[in-house]
Amino acid sequence: MSGVRVLVGTRKGAFVMTSDEKRESWAIDGPHFAGWEIYHLKGSPVDRDRLYASQSSGWFGQMIQRSDDGGATWSPVGNAFTYDGTPGTHQWYDGTQRPWEFKRVWHLEPSLTDPDTVYAGVEDAALFRTTDGGHTWNELPGLREHPTGPSWQPGAGGMCLHTILLDPANPERIFIAISAAGAFRSDDAGATWRPVNRGLRSEQIPDPNAEVGHCVHRIARHPSRPDVLFMQKHWDVMRSDDAGESWREVSGNLPTDFGFPIDVHAHEPETIYVVPIKSDSEHYVPDGKLRVYRSRTGGNEWEALTNGLPQRDCYVNVLRDAMAVDTLDSCGIYFGTTGGQVYASADSGDSWKPIVRDLPGVLSVEVQTLP
């Protein structure tokens, strides 16, 4: 019988939630790593029992944990994230230059072909890779050493590399996104990079052709169409049909186009999901209503999905890594909130039920479809 395994990272530990294909009844295992911030955990697409987790703490720093049994047990692996060579400087909030300093791993992206290879997006922004199952990590320094690096600056949440997209059709192509530098693409497996931000408009950036400086919050795409990208920017929902060469806005009739996550339906490449947030200074949903918005037209035309979601007195946020989709025939959509709720829809978003309501604030949600 098929089913799903939902991997939830929170401010105080990780949780593993499993269900059959009906996705009505859930077993919840956790907290793992109790008391630690779990920015992200994700499974290998080629070995469903191989999971990796980013565990961090303001007291004790960064750990990487690995499971070889689907999250039942975990072991720490390598946690040395050392920039290659002498790291340069980037722009600080006050305009001065500040040296790159490792703070934490925001995102782990396992290889599409090798369970021992994983990419890690870190703060201060850089891309690392392991090829030995997490024991050693090496930077791909071409990104951090891009000539625009000294002009990158942190967003309010830090200068984090939070999005890594691997191309199922082209192993040489990688997209990443950094707050607040923007989106970058490599066509040589991460050796060299170039910004792909043409068409992004940000009020705070006077130059409409600014190559970097954009606060990209998330990028998603459907695996069958690797050149079509959807982006939730700080403000604006954007779309590219040419692998990031150009972007156009598709916010359309959204009540607000600020937000963090964006994702694509598993079987409908033009069906996308966002969670509009009131503003960048009020990080909660508008009007006290938790609404996922779905577009079946690849943007511009959006419908509110509310069935089963609180429609009064709700003031939560949904963070950038806290939405995921499964690949069951009836596509499941999942998201977690800063209020500790994890919601699931087994019908493409038409209706929602909470898997759990009272976790610590949710930082990330991933889902694995099990055979």
């Binding site: 109790a34 008391g35 630690w36 703490s57 303001g58 007291w59 004790f60 720093g61 960064q62 750990m63 720490p76 946690n79 040395a80 050392t82």
Partner: protein
């Protein structure tokens, strides 16, 4: 020389130990030699107490022994005789922080 060391709760969990641990320390008993022995016996703790490259104490980690805060002492200064003799433990503590 056998030194007694107490980890904070989160590091006991990581190291899969309970209570204090005893470590053999070669040469002079200093904070550096004790922490070297800690990381040799419990490699999963590398980076959690001091920076992996600079070996400087993490900001929210504190060191105590014999009722003294040793956090700002030089890493190569000798530890109190009672610690070196195993009569008193060397305490690694998570700082009170966070409001």
């Amino acid at each position: 020389m056998v030194i007694r060391v107490v980890f904070p709760a989160h590091l006991r969990t990581l190291a899969r130990v309970s209570g204090e641990v005893e470590l053999e320390v070669a040469g002079p008993t200093t904070q550096r030699s004790v922490l070297d022995a800690v990381e040799a016996s419990y490699p999963m703790l590398r980076g959690t107490i001091r920076d992996q490259v600079t070996l400087r104490r993490r900001p929210f980690v504190r060191f105590f022994a014999c009722g003294q805060d040793l956090s700002h002492e030089r890493p190569d200064d000798p530890l109190p005789d009672a610690v070196a003799a195993g009569a008193e433990p060397y305490l690694i503590v998570g700082a009170m922080a966070g409001g």
